[in-house]
């Protein structure tokens, strides 16, 4: 066996083994009806793929996650530039940001559901709440790390404050912002699902809740598999996007031998 094939072969072997174990456990009925067999789940999933309701749930999950991500990115970068540029603003917000940062959006979910109801707005609000702060804090770090020599050089070339911000500070903060967005994109998907599952917002989270409540275990497992693939897709897509947008930056440049 060629060495380059070996990892791939073992990966396939690993996946097949996991599926076989699953099938055997389900056939042995270790958990009664609660653990459907792999074949049942995939057959059920295949028939679900033909339903319009599945695709509209999938579309609203992706739509909410992306829209909220875009909103948090724009607001987060603007706030981050503002906070990072003025020392007094940074000190004023430090304690509040540090307190709010480790508080996940699920904590304020009851409040959001109470005020906004099980709506798209509720989901959007929760996702923005979850994604905004990390983007703000990374942008602030990025602004802080701007090379003072580059800033002074720009000033001595007669650039105004606005121009320096747009052409020196923002580009040098870009890798930080890129990292923040790469972390925020999968998180946006997770929060969208949480908002649906616990708050009744539209999307796949709600479908999971309904499947669980109705005892449709095959449907439940199928939806979780779809979410796993969707999560992989989000992670992969953001990594590619980050490389593309930041290809000029030294930490992303490819070394040509």
């Amino acid at each position: 066996m060629k060495p380059s094939i070996r990892p791939l072969a073992f990966s396939v072997l690993g996946i097949v083994t996991a599926l076989v174990i699953w099938q055997v456990l389900a056939e042995a009925r270790v958990a009664g009806n609660a653990l459907p067999s792999a074949t049942t789940v995939f057959a059920n999933l295949a028939s679900t793929l033909g339903l319009g309701s599945f695709w509209s749930s999938l579309a609203s999950t992706i739509g909410i996650a992306l829209l909220a991500l875009a909103l948090s990115a724009v607001a987060g970068i603007v706030i981050g530039l503002l906070v990072g540029s003025f020392e007094s603003v940074r000190y004023a917000t430090l304690a509040v940001l540090e307190f709010l940062k480790p508080v996940p959006p699920i904590v304020i979910l009851p409040l959001a559901v109470l005020v906004l109801g099980p709506t798209v707005e509720m989901s959007l609000f929760l996702v923005v709440f979850g994604c905004l702060l990390p983007i703000v804090m990374q942008t602030v770090d990025g602004v802080q790390s701007t090379d003072p020599v580059a800033r002074d050089t720009a000033r001595s070339y007669g650039m105004g404050e606005g121009e320096i911000l747009a052409r020196v500070v923002l580009p040098s903060a870009m890798p930080y912002i890129g990292t923040a967005l790469r972390v925020a994109a999968p998180a946006a998907l997770v929060v969208t699902v949480v908002a649906g599952l616990l708050g009744g917002g539209p999307g796949l989270g709600q479908s999971i809740y309904q499947a669980q409540a109705a005892g449709d275990y095959a449907g439940l497992y199928g939806l979780v598999i779809v979410l796993g693939l969707l999560g992989l897709l989000f992670q992969g897509a953001t990594r590619v996007a980050e490389r593309r947008v930041l290809h000029w930056h030294e930490s992303y440049r490819e070394v040509v031998p």
Binding site: P7, A9, T17, A34, A92, L114, V194, Q212, L227
Partner: protein
């Protein structure tokens, strides 16, 4: 110079106080059912959590959180080591790990409910499984990024496999492992709340959601406040632990930067 420092410190400490005062004053006569006066919220906070439901709910929640996190930490480092050191294992489990990591951790809760019911086992198991992956992946990355020079030195000194793992690889990987543990802790906290909100009757999350559904807004706010404070404190405590354990690393980084 001193003046600027003093001013910044004052601004930093003053803003939160100012915000809380503003909340207190603006909500003082509030009749809005969604936003009760802060005074009412604090009174309910004291009545609920100090200490009527402390043992029955707060301690239960925290116990599940720490048990689940401890299991995840031990298993994550253990499986991570095995995965990093044995290529065959790595090739076999890599795609599965990435797939499982892609699943939102909270979506695993309904599966655990259907498998083992609504009890404490379900909550601990969901927390442990969801929190496993960040630690495990960080352990694999940490061990695999240990420099070859270090391993060569270990080989020259004829360290045994065991010594190499315990005295060279694991210490060198601790900074990354601790970053993974911190993410795991945050995930564990989220799943703790989610597992209580999904059809359980015990725990802070359950009480908060129940209060919301029965329109007892002050109770709901008290729950949100407590969860926020716990989330913050747990993170701070972990930060202190990390600082202690990694003091050698932080010191060496500072030296390297000064040089």
């Amino acid at each position: 110079m001193m003046n600027v420092k003093m001013r910044n410190w004052l601004i930093g400490a003053g803003t939160p106080v100012l915000l809380l005062t503003a909340w207190w004053l603006s909500s003082e006569n509030s009749t809005d059912p969604f936003f009760p006066p802060l005074r009412t919220i604090l009174v309910r906070f004291q009545e609920l959590w100090l200490f009527e439901h402390f043992q029955s709910d707060v301690l239960v929640s925290l116990g599940n959180l720490f048990l689940g996190f401890a299991i995840a930490a031990a298993a994550g480092v253990g499986i991570g080591c095995a995965t990093a050191l044995v290529p065959t294992v790595r090739w076999m489990v890599d795609p599965l790990i990435h797939f499982l990591r892609g699943i939102p951790p909270v979506a695993l809760v309904p599966i655990f409910i259907s498998l083992i019911g609504f009890g404490t086992e379900m909550r601990v198991a969901s927390i442990a499984l969801a929190a496993l992956f960040p630690t495990m992946i960080a352990t694999v990355d940490g061990i695999r990024s240990v420099s070859n020079d270090l391993m060569d030195v270990a080989r020259v000194y004829r360290l045994s496999r065991r010594e190499r793992l315990l005295n060279v690889l694991l210490p060198a990987a601790t900074p990354q492992i601790f970053s993974g543990l911190q993410v795991s802790l945050q995930v564990a906290f989220i799943v703790m709340i989610a597992s209580e909100m999904l059809g359980s009757s015990q725990g802070i999350g359950a009480m908060t959601l129940l209060a919301q559904q029965s329109f007892m807004t002050a109770d709901m706010w008290a729950g949100i406040l407590l969860l926020g404070v716990i989330g913050f404190l747990v993170n701070v405590l972990f930060g202190l632990l990390k600082h202690r354990v990694l003091s050698w690393y932080i010191g060496s980084r500072r030296m390297a930067r000064a040089a």
